[in-house]
Symmetry: C2
Amino acid sequence: MNKTFTLKNVYVENTASVVGPTEGAGPLGDLFDVVIPDDIYGENSWEKAERKMLLESMGLCMNKSNYQTEDFDMILAGDLLGQLISANFAARDLLIPFVGVFGACSTFTLSIGLGSLLVESGFMNRVLAGASSHHETAEKTFRFPTELGVQRKATATWTMSGAGTVILGGVGPVRVSEVTFGRVVDYGLKDANHLGAAMAPAAFDTLNRHLTNLGKKPEDYDLIATGDLGSVGHIMLKHLMGDKSLGSGNLTDCGLLIYDTRQDTHAGASGCGASACVFSSHFFPLLVKGHINRLLLIATGALFGQTTAQQKESIPSIAHAVCFERVSDQ
Amino acid sequence: MNKTFTLKNVYVENTASVVGPTEGAGPLGDLFDVVIPDDIYGENSWEKAERKMLLESMGLCMNKSNYQTEDFDMILAGDLLGQLISANFAARDLLIPFVGVFGACSTFTLSIGLGSLLVESGFMNRVLAGASSHHETAEKTFRFPTELGVQRKATATWTMSGAGTVILGGVGPVRVSEVTFGRVVDYGLKDANHLGAAMAPAAFDTLNRHLTNLGKKPEDYDLIATGDLGSVGHIMLKHLMGDKSLGSGNLTDCGLLIYDTRQDTHAGASGCGASACVFSSHFFPLLVKGHINRLLLIATGALFGQTTAQQKESIPSIAHAVCFERVSDQ
């Protein structure tokens, strides 16, 4: 049980990202493939806008690599909304077998982890793995509709609008080399405006198991990036990992990279889109160019729902880890 | 693309089912492992009762085969509720890596299909695959809270209360031999009280691809069972498959087997629990005893959500097919 899987033959062939205007105005703004002009994106609901972004990221990815839908064995994708309506409705427009996965904001590495095992096994040649989130659809689901103008806590993260997709296949140089699936961890926290605190223990559990299983140390990676712990959760993870010599400068969080602190987004970005878009637009090019050679991405998810929040239950969390490695001999 | 995967080394080692009182009063009542006394099951919410049923089915399964949590590499599970709260919260009590999957009522064969590929590949030795639904939690999510007493349409299915789990591993005699993952199909139907009609085309698409990929005919299976099309959807599937010589007596639907027509459950049972509990309690023993030797189970799911229903969108559907085969030389 609790294995870390090491892979040899799976590569991220390409990536694509589509983000909202607030994300486009942030420090990574120039790196995203598409920055949409407003959060509604020509649709009549935010849900349709989110779906359109996810579908567009999938199409862009395929176009970049000159693939058609028939070149893919499967789509693995998910989002934050009840019954995965973004992923399901996006997949409706592509005649590719579809698997919906839910890991809240950990969905991106969950879909990559599963997809990579299916490609490595030889069952599949090529899969699409993606995830999306949208500020307006998520806030109304998990906290308050933004029209209410409820004041946000300083610990609250800002669910980002963004969709990211990758192609997993056989073309290098960025190999998926290690995968550790998360366990559900619950320290009893209940505040939906403080999700970094709820998720930090899950990130710790997965990172710890990943390193222990492989006999590795944090320094063995050029970069360790969590998904969307935000500024508070990031510090909590550093505390939890105190004895593992973290804080050596190679630990970051995707949620900290998306907004400028002047954008008033409080503890940083969150949402499935955070790890999906930062990996697709920022980390992947760094790996391709050899600026970093080993990245451990640990997307984190808070597994609560509208109903469990209303019923005053705690917030269980999970984190899935995937290592991406530049292979030089390709 | 659109492959059917044929497997050699994955077996359903054991099964367990936990159902509600209405299901216990039906024709399969004596076959379920546990019939709970009422739909609340000693909890203070229906959601907690559903979660308890799913967790209990997992524990029962492990106990039957004398396994501990550390004998499992992964749990793959899902349910109908927003953010998969039943599966997430059930997995919290088991320290096993967890993957949440959503295929609405197709979730049972989705988790078995994915889990089987992971075991066949050698990455994993043993996984738990499960799914749950609950009449009260589902009705309030997708239609009306039952307290309202809204009159039900004759075409409406009755979301069943039930959880089913299987152990996928290496011990026979019931082998998982074929897996076809579904594509999202949408014929434009919008009535949440007529889901059999929305899902029949998805069942047709998957069954058709499964047979075509393998060069097989319906008669090559002792039994073909859809998940929860109910009485109307079942007839529609027969019409769609007209030229494939179905109607030869080997096509059934799990939703038709759970209730007696005198139970006033309209078009029959639906919910993730339908295929999960009918397989676990009824089909699996038939396979073990050799009363049937080849079963094709096609669980069907309507991929709509509360939000898409309120926004008057259509109901996309999906179906995942898994063939179970008795291997005589074990």
